[in-house]
């Protein structure tokens, strides 16, 4: 059963067709590596999944449920979008941590705000907040940052910041966790620790979509590889297929550039 199905997804910016009909699906527990040249539309696709851009047309299904349908006005409303967005988590290239909150608060803030809407919040306030805090500590521990809980983002290295961003996304237990070049803003020395965390998530069968330029990593960690070229899925398959036996000439050319050094 596919946890995520994307059908004929299109996105235009004005006259520029960026996504020209994307189709793919992902099984629960799988991780998908998305690769492709700069400008091929990888970020745009992730942003569409997270409702940061509204696709021009097409469908997105999560667990067989339509969360976006270009033809269905209901899935386009502000409130629906806010709800459906929670199926996805997104880790940004530039972390986008909240600078004024501690590492722990960065992780718990969203959940606390949601808890406030629960009817029993007033009565069980302390207990609920404590639970969220414990949860936050646990998730920070899972990315190896329990000791940095009370630090502020600017006091951490880039790699640590990115791990906080991952913990923050995990807190809401999204069905699909998306990464947009999670290590490209990091010093080479610091990428290792982030990739290790992502690999750990893959081992725990977290469903993920990872945009990355780290080909070696993509190959090692992913169950599926999607090569995006000029807004279209040029190649889709297992890492072996795509990296060893690409069907398309353009995939070969693209990969050559990375492995030539």
């Amino acid at each position: 059963m596919a946890i995520l199905e994307v059908n004929n997804l299109k996105k235009n910016f004005g006259n520029l067709e960026v996504l020209k009909g994307i189709d793919f699906s992902l099984e629960k527990g799988e991780s998908l590596a998305m690769i492709g040249a700069s400008g091929s539309g990888k970020t745009t696709l992730l942003r569409c999944l997270n409702f940061l851009e509204r696709p021009t047309s097409g469908q997105i299904r999560v667990n067989e449920k339509v969360v976006f349908d270009g033809a269905d006005a209901r899935t386009l409303s502000e409130a629906e979008i806010r709800k459906n967005r929670l199926h996805f988590g997104l880790v940004f290239q530039s972390f986008n941590l909240f600078p004024q909150y501690t590492v722990l608060k960065n992780c718990t803030l969203a959940k606390e705000l949601m808890a406030k809407e629960r009817p029993d919040f007033k009565t069980n306030k302390k207990q609920i907040l404590d639970e969220i805090k414990t949860e936050g500590e646990a998730v920070l521990a899972s990315v190896g940052l329990q000791e940095k809980m009370d630090y502020y983002p600017h006091q951490l290295s880039g790699g640590q910041q990115q791990r906080v961003a991952i913990a923050r996304a995990l807190m809401l237990q999204p069905d699909i966790l998306c990464f947009d070049e999670p290590t490209s803003a990091l010093d080479p020395e610091l990428t290792g620790e982030v990739l290790k965390v992502i690999r750990g998530l893959a081992d725990k069968k977290t469903t993920m979509v990872i945009v990355t330029h780290e080909m070696q990593f993509a190959r090692d960690v992913s169950d599926k590889v999607l090569f995006l070229d000029k807004g279209m899925v040029a190649e889709y398959g297992s890492p072996e297929q795509v990296f060893e036996h690409p069907k398309e000439e353009r995939t070969r050319q693209f990969l050559e550039r990375y492995f030539e050094q």
């Binding site: 409702f51 996805f88 909150y101």
Partner: protein, 214 residues
Amino acid sequence: MLGANPIESLTSGFLLNLELFAVTLLLALPLGLIITFCSMSRFKPLKWITKVFIWVIRGTPLMLQLFVVLYAPGLLFGIPMSSRFTAAVIAFVINYAAYFSEIYRGGIESISVGQYEAGKVLGMTRSQIFFKVVLLQVVKRIVPPMSNEIITLTKDTALARVIGIGEIIMSAERFTKMGLIWPLFSTALYFLVFVGVLSLLFGWVEKKMDYFRV
């Protein structure tokens, strides 16, 4: 011949400066925010009217604005201003709200879109994003330009004398008329001390917010 003690008289004059200062801040700070929202509105006519308004206010001397507020109601509609302090407050509030609004706008526009998007993907509402994520970052950014502007306000309160508000310099001039010159020059001390206190205060606020970086 000399009436009240000059020090007392200057001090009570300066209390008027401070009153005008405080009331102006109290009203212009929120009004400025409203103007900011208007000037960033997606409704074009409102946006443009606000921009023109800001341009006119910033393009003319505050002194003239004081005259207009005090005299125009009586001249045009025969309904004189009830109190000249009110007139001063109105002119100052409008003038400073326009300046504040531009500072707010700069602050809001300087927050990276990534902060909004991070809030969105975490399922926050627009108001949660504004109040829980963006606001404090904006405050941190606008503290330096706001302190400049507020220090300017301190000194601008002296302008209220042109519509006969008996503020400190006007008080001092009463003594000049009676042949006592030093009070006029010693008004500088009042301003220096108050500006000094404000500077310390703003320095403290900036420091308070040094615990995070935007």
